[in-house]
């Protein structure tokens, strides 16, 4: 059972463009929604995260948009750069009762072309 659905599986964006990755979740008990970034040969690392009491969070060129009623959230990368080429995973977690576990989406391989 896929509790967090992520799309697209792969994405090619021109340098300077906007990259958008979408996720949808099913379990309304989730209350943490992080995004992880993974470069080739490395493990994933936390990029940005949001709680469901806000609709948007921005850190530099990275923005999470959150729609609680639709149970959807998305990552926007503004002014995409070749250095942003990586695999991105959305995830969901529970502050209490979940044991610090993360449920990950299936990942999006982003390539930013010159």
């Amino acid at each position: 059972q896929q509790q967090v659905k992520q799309s697209p599986q792969s994405l090619i964006v021109q340098k300077g463009g906007i990259s958008i990755i979408n996720c949808a979740y099913e379990n309304t008990a989730f209350d943490y929604f992080p995004w992880y970034q993974q470069f080739p040969g490395k493990g994933p690392a936390l990029l940005i995260a949001i709680r469901p009491d806000v609709s948007e969070k921005k850190e530099g060129r990275f923005t999470i948009s959150f729609n609680k009623s639709a149970k959807q959230f998305s990552l926007h990368i503004m002014d995409s750069q070749p250095g942003d080429s990586a695999t991105y995973f959305c995830a969901a977690s529970m502050q209490r009762g979940g044991g610090n576990k993360l449920t990950f989406g299936t990942g999006t391989q982003l390539k930013v072309e010159l």
Partner: protein
């Protein structure tokens, strides 16, 4: 700088062999996790541990076992390796109360079972 290390980056084993994957963290984290990463399937949780000698099954525990004799070390064991266990294996650790249940990942072990 926080660090999670995994014993091997690449490993090739034969079908039926017993395989040990080792993970060590230097952050004094209570929680440790083993995932496997496959294209199109994302990160799937195999086992996790909240404390020394404690372990709990994740989403795909079949064919695997774990051992945690010391706080800093978490081992994944394939009792009898099979070709469908060819994958990238990622270890992670976290601490209760960490913002967004952030997990810190090792670089991964790419296991090939022939």
């Amino acid at each position: 700088d926080v660090k999670v290390t995994q014993s091997s980056r690449y490993l090739v084993k034969r079908t039926g062999e017993k395989v040990f994957l080792e993970c060590v963290q230097d952050m004094d984290h209570e929680n440790m996790f083993w995932y496997r990463q496959d294209p199109g399937l994302g990160l799937r949780l195999i086992y996790f541990s909240y404390d020394v000698k404690m372990k709990e099954k994740g989403d795909i525990p079949e064919g695997y076992s774990v051992s945690r004799e010391k706080k800093e070390r978490f081992s994944l064991i394939l009792e009898s390796a099979s070709t469908n266990q060819t994958s990238m294996y990622l270890c992670a650790s976290s601490s209760p109360g960490r913002a967004y249940n952030e997990q810190f990942f090792g670089p991964g072990t790419r296991l090939t079972v022939l």
